[in-house]
Symmetry: C2
Subunit: 385 residues, 2 copies
Amino acid sequence: MKRAIVLGAGMVGSVMALDLASDPGFEVTVADVRDEALARVAAKAPGRIRTLKVDLGSPEAIRSTVAPFDIVLGALSSRIGFGALKAVIEAGKPYCDISFMAEDFLELDALARKAGVTCVTDCGVAPGMSNILAAHAALLLKPCHRIEIFVGGLPRERRWPFEYKAGFSPADVIEEYTRPSRFVEAGQVVTREALTDANLMDFEGVGTLEAFNTDGLRSLIETVARRHGVPFMKEQTLRYPGHIELMRVMRETGLFSKEPIEVGGVKVRPLDVTSAVMFPKWTYQPGEQDLTVMRVKAWGVQQEREVSLQWDLLDFFDVASACTSMSRTTAFPCTIVARMIADGRFARPGVNAPEALADQPGAVDHLLAELKARGVVYRAATLTA
Amino acid sequence: MKRAIVLGAGMVGSVMALDLASDPGFEVTVADVRDEALARVAAKAPGRIRTLKVDLGSPEAIRSTVAPFDIVLGALSSRIGFGALKAVIEAGKPYCDISFMAEDFLELDALARKAGVTCVTDCGVAPGMSNILAAHAALLLKPCHRIEIFVGGLPRERRWPFEYKAGFSPADVIEEYTRPSRFVEAGQVVTREALTDANLMDFEGVGTLEAFNTDGLRSLIETVARRHGVPFMKEQTLRYPGHIELMRVMRETGLFSKEPIEVGGVKVRPLDVTSAVMFPKWTYQPGEQDLTVMRVKAWGVQQEREVSLQWDLLDFFDVASACTSMSRTTAFPCTIVARMIADGRFARPGVNAPEALADQPGAVDHLLAELKARGVVYRAATLTA
């Protein structure tokens, strides 16, 4: 019996806890500062999930909280993700995390190596499965010419005007819409304005979506493009057509600006005001259905033939469990990899980007099979050029 | 020699002053609190325009300022228009005004009657000429079935994303986009949400524009629809297609809200923040060209035949004088009517909406001829049904 603790009892953290709680090999605890979030997750698996009220913004509190556990899982807001990662390493505990931190988690790699703990960060759907499949493709194709990733989390009902709701922090979404997007072209890292290079693409079961530049490659630029020598890599975000034009307009108007302006005698950041009025409209209501769509496509040579390898995910809100697609597609890669760390199948001291899993023989097949067992199906196809 | 004073040395006020200064019958003074605005207008007709530095937000200052003058013209911001009107009446001076005040100027009618002074308000293009032509049509057609007014001031260059610049206060534009729009249908006043009932319309010399509901009828509901018994009346605003969708989105998002919200420990009105970032992009740069497009159309019976009467205005920035179309089309009706008041051709003590001019025999023809002499041409047409 392994003792697991999930840091964060939000949408993703609660799915993680439930997944582990359904496994007789684990004793599961969830930590959060919000009583109602803890009560909500505990009520979903009575007697199977313990709760701890902890301020997860405090590294000290995290260090003492995780001490009695064998494996730690993280589902925290981007703001406190990096501090939590450091605290877990300092406590000498292995960690599998989906917190979308802005900081470079590889800065903590040396610390984790020294502590001898295996950590995997960004281990959700994208980043997460997108990284693992990209690295997997780069290993299968010799050479690999190009990798493209398209991903979006969307509401099933399209409501004017945004036709969008944010499965995670809306502030992180806007951050992706404003930060320059990094891609790899002809072996060079190039920077494009976010929200540009828009194309319409059809996805079976969803219809036409609009793909556009956002800064999504993150660690893949180093691990896949540089190390495996893949000369072209891009990741684009998918939304219902038209959303991105509104975002461009709001950005151009200055409504996403972080520069404080003086209005009526007080100083405010336009982004904070825009967020305050807009984010309530971007929030999923209880029971509101979402979907996740992702395509990872790689071009290259396999057995002396030009081919492309493609993985397609189309996942919907799960009515039976009332769990969003976003929380399920994000939580399960993390719980599956956490089990691999806990039972020693993945043991690589240091802070690992998820693509490190692709190096482990059989790991990708295991992940895809375990995801499928949970209803999250990646359809793989090999297409000849 | 008549002594005229123009209150306000902004875009419209300066065109008023120049128009009167070109007339040997007038001695012209302009009052404003802004030194640079006064210097600018004085420089355009050296020796012909006197300037007075006056705080026009102070009714007391206005009363003493206008005392030595025979006729007063107003081109003030909507915020101070009503106070100025009252002060001019109290000073016992006749007044012709284009300030787009939100208050009901007819509240001051009794005061003006008592003082024996003739005032005409809203005497620009729309409101202004639109009112006069609508009332004129209602008198020509027996019965008059329907009157429709379409009007827009637009930049000649269409720039993404708004394809719009505000010829007058952008705050007044947003006010028109948010206030419920009043129309007359089957003899009843009905209220529609602003920005609704959008239609594409082609205008020769401009192309396709989008017409949509705004609250523009103002005094016409009482003076033309009720008194003349015109059962259907509407006024719609014209913009380049697409503008209005962005305004709808921003309104829906809450960015035009006047309800203060708390952001980062301070209270702000979202509209104030939106205005602060957006209005600089809505401001004409010096020399930037605009156009004014208006159609007043009335259906009814003339000489026992069903006809429609139509007046079309299409006016462009005047390169020779570097005056915007908006300032010229707005200022000239006011200076022409001010002359009629000054020389006694229009004498009706009270506060008059501009449509009162239509009752005066020959006044509409005189106005249209004088406007044409200044290059502002209304093309009239009678169409058989």
